[in-house]
Symmetry: C2
């Protein structure tokens, strides 16, 4: 029997055409390695949804072919789907120390206990079936991030991870551009590179520039200082700690995820906190305000976060007051602009002096901007280029950059989630698709909410619901109770008595006529009541509530 | 009888602490003049709301004291509440030619016919009771804007209108800084100035810079060009027309408001369109794509706008295709970021080459940036300064600017809607408040939607509704029909049969027990059913739908 020529396939299952839920499949013949398993936070029109996961039907169907999941770094958009994935598919997980530390907390919360976690280090090589992986240190807005060089029988695939150049990172761990340069000598088949900032000109500023800016603000602040940031941004937290020390202040940490992440990072030697710096929130009354720094969650304006509570005076220990300096050391993630804006306004109303990204350098991105992206492409010099991690506009702009640098357009693939790109000895082509998309998590339900339920929520959210209940004698068709009308979210019931009376009268008339005409099909009756009411209410109010006729037979 | 000392009072009813629904009251003794009557578009959490108006209860109560409404320019956030206001309060409206032209269209739509419209020109003076008004030409993103100098018995009040410096405006009508400088010699009592861009450093670029950029893009475009902008941005439209001519293309206009505004502006001599430039959308098939420019609505990503329909291939005449160049010549108004972003991504997916604010200079603001705001303050040199038109953060930053320029902090008033600032011979102070806030327009209803209805819509939007219906014998308490369960927006009913059966069983059990115990108070029964179901459903799903027990007695 002739040996079948095996093919290399790359299939993004998430993170392309969106920011979040990154997940990528690499397979050679039967063997599959998965890179990242992230979640996304719901967009505003995903009403009531808690989390969004990639649809990994393809992996569920090919469970037994999966060798491992490799995680590039500990951000939720790269790790958040893991508990859901591992509940169904028990494979080893590879990641660096801090990455695994953060994953462990997640798995524990989800009572997932049986998983093999395999710690790797930047620079280390790991063989997984036909794949030889080498992990490359990259600087990003969380420590311990890696890119991956994957040697396959058909050539080398380079995955950038999430990276920036940052030549002076806070922890000294620069992106290992020498490794990327070295691999560029070896005829790389394909580069997959982070597109998040493909629209941002120039270079992303070094993380340390934020520290300098914070120090400047700290030196001028006369009262208490509150700094909100991402709980996972350990470099930022380190800088806030350092500035706190240098300015002879003490620190209180607020917000569950902030407390948790600081603990993990400290345990793993990724965060250095001088003894005596931290004070308990219960002890702050004894500290003079000019000696205090509060490190807090809430940089995204989340209504239940510590910062929001401080701003609305719902926080048990800390209320924003005139003289406070508040620093929001983060950017608003797309979709959160309104919430962040509301928080900023509320802080100003409380009399605080507020610093935020758009007016001061208190945040820089963790992603490479255009010149850095060019550097990556120029160093790796791949035959094929596949932009990953970004909305469609970012992928397109990243593709344009690659073309500018001399990669022929036909060798650049702007893919969507689910697209299969297949490599053989002669070349690459996009071939078919696998199932891909979004799985909604709502409460305990994973994947049970679909278009029908969301459409109903949309209609309910716009004009509410209008319920008509009537009890009817099943033999005669006579109305023996009702019609009663109840509405919610439609009009203010207490002031709409007249409208409701008129509506009842309409229904009663219609039912009497139907009884006369011996209409006995209740679904017909229901549909007619719906039509009659819909028309009547739209004429009266120009609103379209969901109309629910309920007919009980006795 | 001693003559009572009359006081001057300024009361903002809208536009402070928000962007939109600008409305300001100036009164001396009994006499009131209202400046602007704008609307605001609903924020995302105002579910199902169409428009937001300022609450003008105060003016309703003081109807007979109002001399006039003066409108500074024709933008909806300065004119949009007029029809609603004028339906209740019949007073003359003052405005410039184009402003009144746009207002007439609005009034006609609302069937408001009896209003006296008084046309004024920049430079003109008008006496209204104790007030002498002089209108000052200002450059803004709509032609014919004015600021106002108001001479009152207690001093001069200057209202900036919405302005930018722009030394080379498209229509040649520069902001009349000489007038503002001249009045600065006269001991101005108070300056009220536009704060929209108080966080933007430097100077706002001139409008003409957009024309240059557009020309550059037009010259490179090989296929059809689609430009979306604000329908009221006549200067921008003029530039798009000019660039279309210069590049030897024809123009099609799409979108009702764009067609309407172009017509009005042309009629009033504010827009110059060469003969033969415009072609009808029905005629475009005969034109080669490289000869065509489409001027369209949809710059805010509105789902029903012409551009969105072109992008989703729902438009009758024009579908976006590879080779098209699309220019979104506008900024996303806060709150619209997600919608605009979605449109941009969709356009890229269709293969278009897309230009937008963040990556190219295809839009500039119509509002003064920090250095221009300083210039206004330095020229007018007021005793008191009141920042207007902006969110609280903008007002605060504008106040800081004024302080930097030497106005003592105690003479700077950061007000909220409804605050009364009162001037007498010796000084100014904030004194009490009048009713102010938001009135929601939803369909035909104005002001009937309040917190209760919105709260219900929120709950419905998150987890839907769960209805339990049961018919009971009023004497025995026995269940004679049901319980039936209907839900919408909660779970996918077709796959939730088991859950529903269990829920029914729970209700049945509870009702049987109640019957045994002769519970006859139906409101008690209803509340208990609600509690039982709420607990049950939360345990099973971790969701909290609105629960509606309906008990029919026969």
């Amino acid at each position: 029997m002739a040996k079948k020529k095996l093919k290399l396939r790359i299939i993004p299952l998430g993170g392309l055409g969106e920011v979040g839920k990154n997940m990528l499949v690499i397979e050679y013949g039967r063997d599959i390695v998965v890179i990242d398993a992230g979640l996304m936070f719901p967009e505003e029109e995903m009403l009531g949804i808690d989390l969004v996961l990639p649809d990994f039907t393809y992996l569920r169907k090919n469970k037994d072919r999966i060798l491992a999941v490799v995680i590039t770094h500990g951000h939720e958009d790269h790790t958040g789907a893991l508990p859901y994935f591992l509940k169904e598919i028990n494979v080893p997980v590879y990641g660096t120390k801090l990455t695994l530390g953060l994953i462990k907390v997640k798995l524990k919360e989800h009572h997932v206990k049986w998983i093999k976690l395999r710690e790797i280090k930047a620079g280390q090589e790991v063989s997984l079936g036909p794949f030889d992986l080498k992990f490359i240190q990259v600087a990003h807005s969380i420590p311990d991030g890696v890119g991956i060089i994957i040697r396959t029988p058909l050539g080398i695939v380079v995955h950038s991870g999430d990276f920036k150049l940052d030549q002076t990172p806070v922890d000294g761990r620069v992106t290992d551009f020498r490794e990327f340069a070295a691999i560029g000598e070896d005829k790389v088949l394909a580069l997959l590179s982070d597109s998040t900032n493909a629209e941002t000109p120039g270079f992303t500023l070094p993380e340390k520039s934020v520290g300098d800016k914070l120090d400047e603000i700290f030196k001028k602040a006369k009262g208490r200082i509150i700094v909100a940031s991402f709980a996972s941004h350990i470099h930022r937290i380190q800088q806030i700690i350092d500035v706190t020390c240098n300015n002879d202040r003490k620190m209180v940490i607020c917000g569950r995820s902030m407390v948790e992440n600081v603990e993990i990072a400290r345990d793993f030697g990724r965060l250095h906190i001088p003894d005596g710096l931290l004070v308990n929130v219960r002890g702050i009354e004894s500290l003079p305000l000019p000696k205090l720094v509060v490190l807090s969650t809430g940089s995204q304006g989340e209504p239940l976060s510590a910062l929001s509570k401080m701003a609305s005076h719902d926080h048990r220990w800390i209320q924003i007051q005139p003289g406070d300096t508040v620093i929001i050391s983060a950017a608003a993630v797309p979709g959160n602009e309104t919430a962040v804006n509301r928080t900023i306004n509320q802080l100003f109303r409380r009399g605080a002096n507020v610093f935020y990204e758009s007016i001061s350098g208190v945040h820089v991105s963790g992603h490479a901007a255009r010149e850095e992206l060019k550097l990556m492409i120029n160093l790796v010099r791949p035959r094929y280029f596949i932009p990953i991690h970004g909305e469609y506009r970012h992928l397109e702009h990243h593709a344009d950059l690659a073309e500018e640098l001399g990669i022929p357009r036909k060798n650049i693939f702007v893919l969507e989630n689910g697209d299969i790109i297949e490599f053989n000895k002669t070349g690459a082509r996009v071939k078919n698709r696998v199932t891909a998309g979004t799985i909604f998590v709502d409460g305990l339900g994973v994947g049970d909410i679909g278009d029908v339920v969301l459409r109903d929520r949309h209609q309910l959210s716009r004009d509410g619901i209008f319920i008509v209940v009537v009890t009817i004698d099943q033999h005669s068709g006579d109305v023996i109770a009702g019609p009663d009308i109840i509405s919610r979210g439609f009009v203010y019931m207490k002031e709409a008595g007249e409208l409701m009376d008129e509506a009842k009268e309409k229904v009663r008339e219609y039912l009497q006529e139907s009884a006369k005409e011996h209409v006995t099909d209740w679904s017909v009756l229901r549909n007619h009541v719906r039509d009659v009411m819909s028309k009547f209410l739209y004429e009266k109010t120009k609103r379209r509530p969901m109309i629910m006729p309920i007919i009980m037979e006795v």
